[in-house]
Subunit: 386 residues, 2 copies
């Protein structure tokens, strides 16, 4: 892959745009205005870590027919020109008085009829990546054209992955799998958790990660208090469970799964809970099917845990995955998103071992017509002992 600016062939992106335009037609949208890094990467292949800088907004317009138009800071022109996108308009950002606002208004007005409805992702799990005051200026400047919620179109398309996307996520999963298999090289009683975190990230890079966007975890005698903390300097101790959860990126695609390790022999409660999580995952691997809803997946995992005597942890028990660490849908009791063939999902059952101490187990799958296909190398039933 000599040119990282275009992870896939142009046809992959043309196909995505065609799918978006189908959904847009169904929802009466004359265009989509995209501002967020994942959405812009999805359509263009424009891959950069420069999004880390909040200084400049970036815009991509997907019209109802025809190719997208990029309206971007000039600092990105050279990289965008290496993607399949041909229509690229730039301004010198950051511009305190007019940071792309007038150029975006001009572009939208020149492309779209006055009655146009322009979809902007405004719903669950979306964020507008531009200053809110500038958004209001653009909304006023394009009138009578108007912004409406475009979440549905983007979600419907991005949720179902192409074959190329599935392979990209599989590659990220394989990188993390190889690093998880080597954790005994870096973790042992007495090692500070923060050292383990550093070494594990370095190992992910050695195994082929382009970068490590996410690592969280914890360690404690009956599991961990939460799953989002950075590492403390506390040393690992005999009797701890160590959990590492990584969102590792290769070619712009994430994996998102964790592994648990016993520091010395695990307690009976910990082993029983880990087995319940592992077996609940087996149940989901056997019975999840397209046509179920996201909340059915939540119920399936909850029931499987309870049947094995485990107390399900709060929160969601899985979610979508792909060009962000987490994507729609969420396996909660309230999410009625239909599960469809081609979705890439995490199965993430958690259970309490003791009050305030939990274990979480996670695998990544792609949902096929006949059920889940694993993308992460399956965790062992018994936690590896360090």
């Amino acid at each position: 892959m000599a040119d990282r600016s275009l992870v896939f062939p142009a046809d992959e992106f043309r196909h995505r745009v065609a799918r978006l335009q189908d959904e847009m037609a169904g929802q009466g949208l004359d265009a989509l205005l995209l501002t967020a890094a994942p959405d812009i990467f999805y359509v263009t292949g424009f891959l950069t870590r420069f999004w880390e800088s909040p200084a400049r907004p970036w815009f991509l317009i997907v019209p109802a027919t025809g190719d997208p138009v990029a309206v971007i800071p000039s600092i990105g022109a050279a990289l965008m020109a290496r993607t399949w996108i041909e229509a690229i308009r730039t301004w010198d950002a950051p511009h305190p008085g007019d940071d792309g606002v007038s150029l975006l208004i001009d572009t939208l007005c020149s492309l779209l009829p006055e009655q146009a409805r322009v979809g902007v992702p405004m719903g669950l799990e979306t964020q507008l990546r531009m200053p809110l005051a500038d958004y209001d200026r653009v909304a006023a400047g394009i009138a009578p054209r108007r912004f409406v919620d475009g979440t549905g179109a983007v979600q419907r398309v991005r949720e179902v992955k192409s074959a190329a996307e599935v392979e990209a996520i599989r590659a990220s999963c394989a990188i993390a799998g190889r690093a998880f298999a080597r954790v005994q090289e870096i973790a042992a009683p007495g090692r500070p958790l923060e050292t383990v975190f550093r070494d594990f990230q370095a190992m992910l890079l050695q195994e082929g990660a382009d970068w490590v966007s996410y690592l969280a975890g914890g360690a404690g005698p009956d599991g961990y208090a939460d799953v989002i903390s950075p590492a403390s300097s506390d040393p690992l101790q005999d009797g701890d469970v160590l959990m590492l959860d990584t969102g590792t990126v290769r070619n712009g695609y994430f994996c998102d799964f964790d592994r648990n390790y016993a520091v010395g022999p695990a307690s009976e409660a910990v082993r029983r809970t880990h087995a319940a999580l592992w077996e609940a995952t087996e149940d989901a691997l056997a019975s999840l099917r397209p046509g179920m809803l996201a909340r059915d997946a939540h119920r399936l995992l909850s029931v499987a845990l309870v049947r094995r005597g485990a107390e399900p942890g709060g929160g969601r028990l899985g979610h979508g995955l792909g060009i962000t660490l987490t994507e729609w849908p969420s396996f909660t009791p309230l999410d009625d998103t239909p599960l469809r063939e081609g979705m890439v999902l995490t199965l993430e059952p958690g259970a309490l071992v003791a009050p305030g101490r939990m274990l979480v187990h996670e695998e990544n799958i792609v949902l096929r017509a006949h059920g889940p296909e694993l993308l992460s190398p399956r965790a062992p039933l018994e936690m590896p002992e360090l």
Copy 2:
């Protein structure tokens, strides 16, 4: 630093809130509503990489007097409880029908009088980190209280760093400096750029980075075409200039500087341009003072480059730095932000070597009353040869 959830003592955060409340008073704000990771970290010390997941919004209310109130997903309750924040209200997110909206409305209405003006960062270099449709629901739900632009208060306070913040940034700069000094261990003719990027990130972790949020760079015979690209698989070649630019994070604080290396002997044009960049930086180190404007820094660097026969690259020539890779202000011809004592800034002159090929040189400073103090170890005048 045993507890990474609170990088600094609570007094540091109380002092920040007092400064914010001073600015709020000056601008007639009855509260700030913060949604973005850097703003919430700034006030609370809540440090997690979980922001990588776009699934859930997080809210922090800073009232005109008294302590902040967190309104957050329950998955973050345990970690937030380890900060100095005592008022923590949670909901089970993601909730498709009401993802914190009613809880936020209730909290704002219970805390604030009906005529309250609630500042939300809406201006340059800010983003609202919650679904736009939910923001509109909250705005309607809190009426007659209303949202107004709170950018100024946040910018004025965050721009000037405390002593503890300066030391945190200095520590990140030192980590990157040690890694930059070892680049000859990982980069040589024939090595693919993507391998150099992986190895350099691993080296940053070895040197003490908690994580590497940003790495960009390039390599080519007369410099590089842009400064935001991920690595290609192209091998380094004799005559290339290799540039690596990293935003490395330790305890939630960034450095942001680059270094250039000559792969084999550098051409005369490259050496001349690098010397001009280095000397222009010397000029800025000697003459930048509080009371100048951001645009004065731009002019100072531009003039210094032209005087040495270099052609300044487009875009900004420096910016703020701290809890994000880039912060206000920007050294552009249009930014009239006053430079103040205690600001941490990058000096980032760039110049063209040939059409479409440039060199960029960057250092990090804190602005003292008497002028800049370097936080990054000063680059050598002559590029190191690999």
